[in-house]
């Protein structure tokens, strides 16, 4: 409701196809993952959500227009279609965010169990308002709808984990811990979600393919050196 959809700058490319490929930034791992995930569905289009998750990881935690363009190219669809999907879902970040996102639930149960107090406390502690990022780029504070862990209200989602029964003391400790660790970042959340799509054998396949590519590169390098 309060969030206005930011359309971003529309890239000045008329069409995206084999003859007019956009700048591609997916790593080889990402390409391999997307290829495997596409096999899960009868259509390429259906891999849209996982593809956007991969893009969010590859582009450092948010989806700039170039990322949408790359997804459109890799799924053989148009920029408009990808943008339409990406702007619908709240977990795809359309603007740059901090390294770690703090998403505080203020929905019904949390609202009567102190969710707003937690949100105000975080605003004060970090010196930012809801929706803003700290100047050092560490934290983005968000207010979200029900995270469905109401038994532990008030709850906050930090990357790929929930933290419940929050108190100001717990938050102080958590913020210190998050500053020092590489866990629960925005990029890690996207990666966790991508990995959940892939079965064990697919993950092993990808590893093998990457190793093979690596040794091929090394052999080529040796050949050049020798």
């Amino acid at each position: 409701m309060s969030e206005r959809i930011q359309l971003g700058e529309y890239p000045r490319v008329r069409r995206i196809d084999e003859k007019h490929p956009p700048e591609l930034r997916f790593s080889q791992k990402a390409v391999e993952e997307l290829e495997r995930i596409k096999q899960h569905y009868p259509t390429k289009r259906a891999a849209m959500l996982p593809a956007l998750w991969i893009a969010q990881r590859e582009y450092g935690g948010y989806l700039p227009p170039e990322a949408l363009m790359e997804v459109a190219y890799r799924l053989g669809t148009s920029y408009a279609v990808v943008q339409g999907v990406a702007t619908f879902y709240t977990m795809y970040n359309k603007r740059p965010v901090g390294r770690v996102m703090l998403e505080v639930c203020t929905n019904l149960t949390c609202s009567i169990c102190g969710g707003y107090e937690i949100l105000r406390y975080l605003e004060q502690k970090l010196g930012i308002k809801v929706g803003e990022t700290t100047p050092d780029g560490q934290f983005t504070l968000m207010e979200v709808e029900c995270l469905n862990d109401c038994g532990n209200a008030p709850v906050m989602q930090v990357g790929n984990r929930y933290f419940g029964n929050l108190t100001p003391e717990k938050i102080d400790a958590l913020i210190e811990q998050l500053k020092q660790s590489d866990e629960h970042t925005v990029v890690q959340l996207a990666d966790t979600i991508v990995q959940c799509h892939l079965s064990e054998s697919e993950r092993q396949d990808i590893e093998r393919a990457l190793e093979k590519a690596q040794s091929a590169r090394e052999a080529e390098q040796d050949g050049r050196d020798g």
Binding site: M1, S2, E3, H40, Y41, P42, T43, R45, A46, A47, M48, L49, P50, L52, W53, L75, G84, V85, F88, Y89, T90, M91, Y92, T106, N107, L108, T109, S111, I112, C113, E145, C146, L147, N148, D149, C150, G151, N152, A153, Q157, N160, R161, Y162, L189, T192, I193, Q195, C196, H197, S199, E200, S201
Partner: protein, 429 residues
């Protein structure tokens, strides 16, 4: 009456998330049994159990199962709804995190009964912890031959994929979920009778069985012990057990599995009693009408709650004590639906926003007496006029709150502040 555990029977066993421990406790014996039965026998067993959909609507599960065409001219799909988003509900989270194989077994049996070769679990994007548990469990099931080609040498194939959402309440609605799996915006589709049911034309226009996590988790126990055993629990029309996610002003919030037809007050006792004085209960998630304390003398089953003017819904049981200001609480409810409305149908998209604006005016102290009727009027304009039930769900709680707590609205408008907060203030003085 105490808890009656069917789904939660083995949930406290250490390591039940692993295949080894699950098998020691009878895991996958239902699948073996089902594979020895004909498909129709499996469906008949579900029919005999009287199992009703636990996602909110309470639709008899067997009708969906039986509605899938019995030939294989098209591929069939099973779609497990794990997009738990209904405020107040957290049962699916616990079922996935603590008992993943029970759900997987249920999905495979559903796949066998409906001739499906592929299944998708649609898990909401925020649920990465349950998704990782499910991932591990599915990998184990593949390794042991319960999933994949030629399951247990029976010639039946079934593949199960996880599909993660990306933050949308609307995607918990079955047709919006289909859109989301197919890579579109999560908006609902035209419904029966204006369009064929998903059991005829669902994912990619193929027959699709859509069931909630809790519904599918019930299946192994039903197949193992027989439908009649399941039907022997609960009431005549609401059979079996139900998990209620109790939250809010109670001493021991959490998931409690009780027999259908358990008195509401007993569930409150199980959850450690109310903190303070009970004001109201929302028995089935934010979408259902509020139940004031005076009316809480009801049994928890589909029919009794309907007779009391509310619904069982998804079992998100929120308890409010007398410190809660209903007007403020309902403003939060309205804001939730305004945020989550997908924007497809005008009455819901615009109506929910107008309701928030009216609530904001009341809360700011500028309310007018006719605002109450205006809210009711908007509720009437939304209810039944949208593709999916999100619109109805936005209208019901507001309408019920005005019905039961009109005096609080009137007080707020007249005095410009909350009746409850004024009470608290005078008590402090």
């Amino acid at each position: 009456m105490a808890e009656l555990k069917v789904l939660f029977k083995d949930i406290d066993v250490p390591g039940i998330q692993t295949l080894e421990v699950y098998e020691q406790h009878g895991g996958y014996s239902a699948l073996r049994k089902a594979l020895g039965m004909t498909r129709q026998q499996v469906i008949d067993e579900v029919k005999a159990s009287g199992l009703r959909g636990r996602g909110g609507a309470g639709f008899p599960a067997w009708i969906k199962w039986n509605g899938i065409p019995k030939d294989e001219s098209q591929p069939h799909y099973v779609q497990c709804n794990a997009d738990e988003g209904e405020p107040g509900t957290f049962k699916d989270r616990e079922l996935m995190m603590r008992h993943p194989h029970q759900l997987i077994e249920g999905i495979i049996i559903a796949g066998y009964a409906t001739l499906s070769k592929m299944g998708y679990i649609y898990i909401r994007g925020e649920y990465t912890e349950p998704a990782r548990v499910m991932r591990r469990a599915i990998d184990e099931a593949y390794r042991a031959g319960y999933l994949g080609k030629n399951i247990l040498g029976s010639g039946v194939d079934f593949d199960l994929y996880i599909h993660m959402g990306a933050g949308s309440y609307e995607c918990g609605e079955e047709s919006a979920m289909m859109s989301s799996i197919m890579g579109e915006r999560g908006q609902p589709r035209l419904k029966f009778p204006h369009a064929p049911l998903p059991t005829i034309a669902g994912l990619w226009n193929c027959p699709t069985l859509i069931n909630n996590v809790e519904t599918l988790s019930c299946v192994p126990a039903i197949i193992r012990n027989g439908g009649a055993w399941y039907a022997s629990m609960g009431t005549e029309k609401s059979t079996g057990t139900k998990i209620f996610s109790v939250s809010g002003h109670v001493n021991k919030p959490g998931n409690y599995e009780v027999e259908m037809g358990t008195p509401l007050m007993e569930l409150l006792e199980l959850a450690g009693g109310v903190k303070g004085k009970l004001k109201a209960v929302i028995p089935g998630g934010s979408s259902v009408p509020i139940l004031p304390a005076e009316k809480c003398d009801v049994n928890l089953d589909y029919e009794s709650l309907q007779a009391a003017g509310t619904m069982l819904g998804s079992g998100g049981f929120m308890v409010l004590n007398d410190t809660v200001c209903i007007v403020r609480f309902m403003r939060r409810t309205a804001a939730f639906y305004a945020h989550e409305s997908c924007g497809k149908c005008t009455p819901c998209r615009e109506g929910t926003r107008w309701m928030v604006k009216i609530f904001d005016r009341i809360l700011a102290g500028g309310g007018r007496m006719e605002d109450i009727d205006l809210l009711l009027d908007i509720c009437d304009q939304i209810d039944g006029r949208s593709y999916c039930a999100l619109g109805d769900a936005a209208a019901w709680p507001i309408r019920a709150s005005i019905k039961h707590y009109r005096h609080e609205y009137e007080f707020f408008i007249k005095h410009g502040h909350s009746m409850v907060e004024a009470q608290r203030y005078s008590a402090a003085v």
